[in-house]
């Protein structure tokens, strides 16, 4: 199945409370206690699950360490099972950025500058998701940065709810500005938010090289031609490294057919041939 369909299906599944978009009321069912793997604001009128980053920050602001255990355990579980496969297949905001990148405009190619910028997301994770919520009791990432929250929750709720509309101020203007900046950058730079800012991607990236599922390379077949790295639009240095979102574009680019998903039948084929 094509990756775009999986991304679309996951986005719909995360936000299948469709009536919420009309009424401006968020979902209040039991599934709201379960964190979804991708970045999806739980205040989105359609959301049927909790955002792991929002939940983690709120738990840290009130020092609810058992809640932190539950959320960190969930993130570890997602990360060790799938790594950044989640970014490539199960993140609605990643899909939105990829669709924006389809707009025919001059594109910024990956370079040493973008590779250096990709380290920024670890600082965002450390300061806005962990340190500031712990020290200043503010969910800083959600409050000042998260463009997914503005797009999926802020705008729909403000449009649908007159009371909320009457309360908007400088913070809302700032968040809309951040969203507009990321929308514009995403048109010319592939998944800019994921590569440079996303703390969820930063967390999963740490587990990406050891995750159970994902992409792997047959070292005996690999000739080191780097066709995989050349075709990749992320800041990868090797297939399956921290920046790899396991999208699988390199599988088709490899002239030696040395790249495959760990769970496909390719392994059997290799074993028979060798």
């Amino acid at each position: 199945m094509k990756r775009k369909y999986i991304q679309l299906i996951s986005a719909v599944l995360y936000n299948c409370h469709i009536t919420g978009f009309v009424t401006g009321k968020i979902y209040k069912g039991r599934t709201k206690g379960i964190c979804v793997p991708g970045l999806n604001c739980y205040s989105c009128p359609g959301a049927v699950g909790a955002c792991p980053l929002g939940s983690l920050q709120n738990a840290l602001t009130v020092s609810a360490y058992r809640v932190c255990l539950y959320i960190l355990g969930t993130l570890l579980l997602f990360g060790i099972l799938f790594g950044r496969l989640i970014c490539g297949f199960l993140c609605p905001f990643g899909l939105i950025q990829e669709l924006l990148y389809l707009i025919p405009l001059p594109k910024i190619q990956k370079s040493k500058v973008t590779a250096a910028l990709s380290c920024l997301k670890y600082a965002v994770l450390l300061f806005t998701v962990i340190a500031i919520p712990l020290v200043r009791f503010i969910p800083a990432f959600c409050k000042y940065i998260c463009p997914a929250g503005t797009l999926e929750a802020g705008l729909p709720l403000v449009i649908a709810d007159e009371v909320l509309r009457s309360r908007i101020g400088w913070l809302f203007s700032w968040k809309v500005f951040v969203l507009v900046v990321f929308v514009l950058i995403s048109m010319i730079c592939f998944r800019a938010f994921c590569r440079f800012i996303c703390p969820l991607g930063a967390l999963y990236s740490l587990l990406n090289p050891v995750s159970f599922f994902g992409i792997t390379v047959d070292r005996e077949r690999c000739t080191g031609c780097n066709a995989c790295i050349d075709v990749c639009k992320m800041d990868t240095c090797a297939v399956g490294d921290r920046e790899c979102i396991q999208c699988g574009e390199c599988i088709h680019a490899c002239p030696e057919c040395a790249i495959r998903y760990k769970t496909t039948r390719g392994k059997d084929k290799w074993e028979k041939e060798n």
Partner: protein, 49 residues
């Protein structure tokens, strides 16, 4: 210890840690707390509060 054995060992340790953390959190009522927070509009998330 080969590379793949070492990786599998790390995977299993992390997987076990994740499961233990989830269980520890759930027994402490974490599900209810996450649920309680998630069913309210997050004013910070939407840029109001």
């Amino acid at each position: 210890m080969t590379e793949s054995v070492r990786k599998n060992f790390i995977r299993c340790i992390i997987l076990a840690a994740a499961v233990i953390m989830i269980i520890a959190g759930l027994t402490g009522g974490a599900f209810r707390d996450v649920f309680t927070r998630a069913v309210m509009i997050c004013m910070e998330c939407i840029g109001i509060g």
